[in-house]
Amino acid sequence: MSSPDPLLRIAQFALAFRTEAGLSTVLDGVDLEVARGEILGLVGESGCGKSTLVRAILGLMPQGARVLGGRIEFGGQNLLDLDEAILSRDIRAGRIGFIPQDPFQSFNPLFRVGSQMLEIMRWHAPPEIGRSRSAHRARLLELMERVRIPAPDAALKRFPHEFSGGQLQRLMITAAIACKPDLVLADEPTSALDVTTQQQILALLEELAREMNTAVILVTHDLGLVAQYCDRVSVMYAGQTVESFPHERMLEGVRHPYTRMLLDCHPDRAGALKGILGIVPGIARMPPGCRFGPRCPALLPICGTRRPEPEMLEAGHSVQCWAVSGSVVSKVPADV
């Protein structure tokens, strides 16, 4: 899609959960790529599956989840082929870091933060950092200075409840990048924080990611943040990816009807008081084909039968939409 040798490539990934109503396809054909050192924004509204996708990359799927197809290739290797033991030993924390949403739930309240972070290092630190506890400690202290935790030495001995939300997220960032991962998955890392703290955290994350050439998938529902920090953006709707584009395209140049309508809903835009007619269908009642179909102004008959295939419009910009597809003259009205 975007680069010849992406760090992470998710191709036609489909995942189903077992629910009371049977097997529900939560992720239906997800296509995503992240290049080395790239910051990708993964956006979508509630229920689009972005958090599920992120956890699926790490192999953290709930009981009763079944992979229906597709591949998740990381550094050339299909993560879906790896078993739990290898995933937890080699991939998680070591090569893929994770920053979850709620900082107050991320640490075990009973143990000091230092011991928790050292434990991560003990199991996942790459050889170049060293094997000894003191080497790990030194690395943590150095990072904590970078993320501006006051008095890092003393901080290591503190318990999670002694820190504020912003500080805890900075500690989570430390823990996530301590082992020099190639990729960091940040699942709404700042939703629970105030807006000024949010900027501190994200600016920090961006700076560190650039410095260490670590790729980041930033999962968020805030389009403004994505516009600010992300190199590329992928939009999801009801378990399907609909469009991926470089950030320059954000203000004008997005093609998928959903993306356009969603951007229009932002308070900075004129359509902020319009909304999108209809609601996201319940998980057991997903329409066939393109799931946005029932709400789409550019609906074509084919949309209800086959899921649109990803089509590359130009470098870094791909769309999954029959109405926009190159083979069909664009029928999307200009003022959608």
Binding site: T196, T197, A203, D268
Partner: protein, 344 residues
């Protein structure tokens, strides 16, 4: 200038501090600290600030759900302060409150029709079923909703029901408590549209409490910015977003993610102060890049900067108002260096 429908003078609300029988007192906080503001008929006034700034407490004090510790409240010219919550709510029934949690605001064991009927009863105004039907139409709900129970409706529908319920009480002022917090963008747009429509149809005055500056910018005529219980700046929405006078307002506006900004915003140093900590002088001084001695000792009062604009800062005259869209000035707002370059 429209007339003032609601006014607070030197309003202070102190939370905690009272010991129950055999119970230790919680630490005291001045959640609302000497606030003076006016709400003009027909306008939407935004109360903005981050967590712990006291905007929700201020809203609830104005409503009467919380009893103020000192100060005056005037509603349509009458003094209405100094009352316990139940009495206060009776006297101030022209002000109604839309909860952030619309779903929880409805009794799960009552049908929608019964809930709305109760609101009509409480309003004391005579009326029949038609009034309820009209109200359902005004909020965009089908009449069939009356026979349903809360668990059968979606979050969006329940929000409309909650709004209809308040409107049946015929308020003049509606306090909206974080109406868009946690909402998806498309749903947020629909909610804002609904609020706008209802306000116009029923000629309401709104107090819009929110931490989301983009939404406030869209919806509010005037804005008051709060920090630690005090109003630090207030004025017309377009003025405040164009040029901020108070360093905190500057930081807040700069930190708000915009669709058009590429450059990283200025990061404000440090964390918001914990509640219960008493900070001498200006509460913002520990995080302010421009703090001088007087800031550490004396609390700044709200001064009029120009008609309709007030700011509470000792140095506001010297500090040039910052322009919005910090992208125009090398990535940082004039006068304040990016956080990661500040010497420590």
């Amino acid at each position: 200038m429209s007339d003032v429908i609601l006014e607070a003078r030197n309003l202070t609300t102190i939370l905690g501090g009272k010991a129950g029988f055999l119970q230790r007192a919680r630490p005291q906080t001045r959640a609302v600290d000497d606030v003076t503001l006016q709400l003009h008929r027909g306008e939407t006034l935004g109360l903005v600030g981050e967590s712990g700034c006291g905007k929700t407490t201020l809203g609830r004090t104005l409503l009467g759900l919380l009893r103020e510790t000192s100060g005056e409240i005037h509603l349509e010219g009458q003094r209405v302060d100094g009352l316990a919550p139940k009495a206060a709510r009776r006297v101030r029934r022209a002000i109604q409150y839309l909860h952030q949690d619309a779903v929880g605001a409805l009794d799960p064991w009552w049908s929608i029709g019964r809930t709305l009927g109760e609101a009509r009863q409480l309003s004391g105004v005579a009326g029949d079923e038609a009034v309820i039907d009209r109200m359902l139409g005004a909020v965009g709900l089908d009449l069939a909703a009356k026979t349903h129970y809360p668990h059968q409706l979606s979050g969006g529908q329940l929000r409309r029901v909650a709004l209809a319920r308040i409107m049946l009480l015929a308020p003049k002022i509606v306090v909206l408590d974080e109406p868009t917090a946690g909402l998806d963008l498309s749903i947020q747009a629909a909610v804002l549209r609904l609020l706008q429509d209802v306000k116009t149809s029923f000629q309401l005055t709104n107090l819009f409490i929110s931490h989301d500056m983009s939404v406030v910018r869209l919806m509010c005529d005037r804005v008051s910015v709060m920090y630690r219980g005090r109003i630090v700046e207030s004025g017309l929405s377009q003025d405040i977003f164009a040029a901020q006078r108070h360093p905190y307002t500057r930081a807040l506006v700069a930190a708000t993610p915009r669709l058009s900004t590429r450059v990283p915003a200025v990061a404000l140093d440090g964390d918001p102060p914990g509640l219960g900590q008493d900070i001498p002088g200006c509460a913002f001084h520990p995080r302010c890049a421009f703090a001088v001695d007087i800031c550490r000792t004396q609390k700044p009062e709200l001064e009029q900067a120009e008609t309709g604009s007030n700011v509470a800062c000792h140095r506001w005259r010297e500090l040039a108002p910052a322009n919005d869209d910090g992208g125009k000035q090398n990535g940082h707002v004039s006068g304040a260096a990016p956080a990661y370059q500040t010497a420590r």
